[in-house]
Symmetry: C2
Subunit: 171 residues, 2 copies
C-alpha cells in the first residue's frame, strides 16, 4: 500500500498535478494535511486523477496522516552536506532497497518552507533528489513525480532482471 | 550538450516549470517551436530557471529546432503495444545507453495532441515513460522532469559504479 502525504500544500496546480501523478503511477491513497489552497480548484489540474483527489483524506494534524504507516519516508530539497541535518539523506534509487514494508508513506512539504525538523524527525528515512548543486530545489509536484517514477521503475526493472517481483508495493 | 525542445506548448505553467527543471538538471538549451501560450506569463512559474526561459530560442519550424542535433529523441505518452506505431519505443533507462553523442535533443509534444507522426519520424529514438496502463499520460512538464532526472541519475550512478564518467552529457 502506497500513500502520498502532502503537508500544507499551497498551490492548487501542484495538488491537482499530484493527484494525476498518483493515478499515473498507481498510488493507493492521497492524504492532505491542513491544505492551504482550494482543493476544488485543484481538480482542474488533476485530469483523470480527479477521483483520487475527490477521495483524498484531509486531516488536521501531521500525525493523523502517518500514525498507521509501517515505513515513513520524508523528502527534502536540501541535501545533507551542510552538517545541520537530522540524519543522512539517501537518493531515490537507494530508497528502493527499503520498500519491503506493507504500508508505506511518502511525505512532501510546503512549497514555501518544506517540512519542519520535527516532522522529519518523526519519519524513518529522508530522501533527497540530487540535481544541480546551485539549484536542487524542485517544484513540489515535480519532486512527487520523480519519486513515484523511481518506485514504478524499480518494479519494472526488478521484474526484468530477476523474474521475481519483489517489494510490498504490489497492491 | 543537452537541449530540450518543446513543440507548440499550450500551458504557461508547463513552460515555466520546464525552464525551472532545465536549471535543476543542468540543461544547456531550451528551444520552443511556435509557442501557443504567453512566454512572459510562463516566467512566473520558472523560479530560478527564469534566465533559461529568457534565453530560450523561439523558432517557427520544428526542423529549425533539431537540424543541428547529433541525436534526436522524441517522447510519447503512447507505448508501442498497439501495432499502429512508427517504431518501437524504449524506456527512459534504456535511452541512457544511447547518449554517447555530442548534441542531444529531447523533444516533447503538445499537451493536447502530442507529437505528429511526421515529427516522430524525423527523430532517432522514441521514448515512453511507462506508468499505469490505464492512464500513462503524464502532464507535459512532469514527463520532462522524469526524463531529465533519469539522465542526471545515470551520470551519478555511473560515477558511483565505475569511477568513470561516461557519456557526452558533460558540458
Ligand atoms: N530535490 C528534492 N528532493 C526531494 N524532495 C524535494 C526536492 N525538491 C523539492 N522537494 C519536495 O518539494 C517540497 C517543497 S520544496 C520546499 C523548498 C523550500 N524552500 C525549503 O526550504 O525546503 C519539499 O518539502 C520536498 O517534499
Ligand atoms: N509512440 C508512437 N509511435 C508512433 N506513432 C505515434 C506514437 N505516438 C503517437 N503516434 C502517432 O502520432 C500521430 C499523431 S500524435 C497525436 C496523438 C497521439 N495520441 C499521440 O499521443 O502522439 C497519431 O497518428 C499516432 O499514431
Ligand atoms: N508517459 C509518457 N512518456 C513520455 N512522454 C510523455 C508521457 N506522457 C506525456 N509525455 C510527454 O508530454 C507530451 C504531452 S502529453 C500529450 C497527450 C496527448 N493527449 C496525446 O494524445 O499525445 C507528450 O507529447 C510527450 O512529450
Amino acid at each position: 500500500m502506497l500513500r502520498v502525504v502532502l503537508v500544507e500544500p499551497e498551490g492548487e496546480y501542484n495538488v491537482g498535478f499530484i493527484a494525476r501523478l498518483c493515478k499515473n503511477f498507481g498510488v493507493d491513497e492521497l492524504y492532505i494535511v491542513n491544505p492551504k489552497c482550494d482543493l476544488k480548484k485543484a481538480v482542474e489540474f488533476s485530469a483523470k486523477g480527479s477521483s483520487i483527489l475527490l477521495n483524498s483524506k484531509v486531516v488536521d494534524k501531521f500525525t493523523d496522516a502517518i500514525y498507521d504507516l509501517d515505513l515513513k519516508i520524508s523528502t527534502s530539497s536540501i541535501a545533507d552536506s551542510k552538517g545541520d541535518m537530522l540524519r543522512k539523506s539517501i537518493s531515490p534509487w537507494e530508497m528502493i532497497n527499503y520498500l519491503d514494508k506493507n504500508k508505506i508513506g511518502l511525505i512532501f512539504g510546503r512549497e514555501s518552507v518544506g517540512l519542519t525538523r520535527e516532522e522529519i524527525f518523526m519519519t524513518d528515512l529522508l530522501v533527497h533528489i540530487p540535481g544541480n548543486p546551485d539549484y536542487p530545489v524542485l517544484n513540489l509536484s515535480h519532486a512527487v513525480g520523480i519519486i513515484l517514477y523511481e518506485i514504478w521503475r524499480s518494479r519494472l526493472t526488478s521484474k526484468e532482471n530477476s523474474g521475481i517481483y519483489h517489494g510490498a508495493i504490489s497492491s
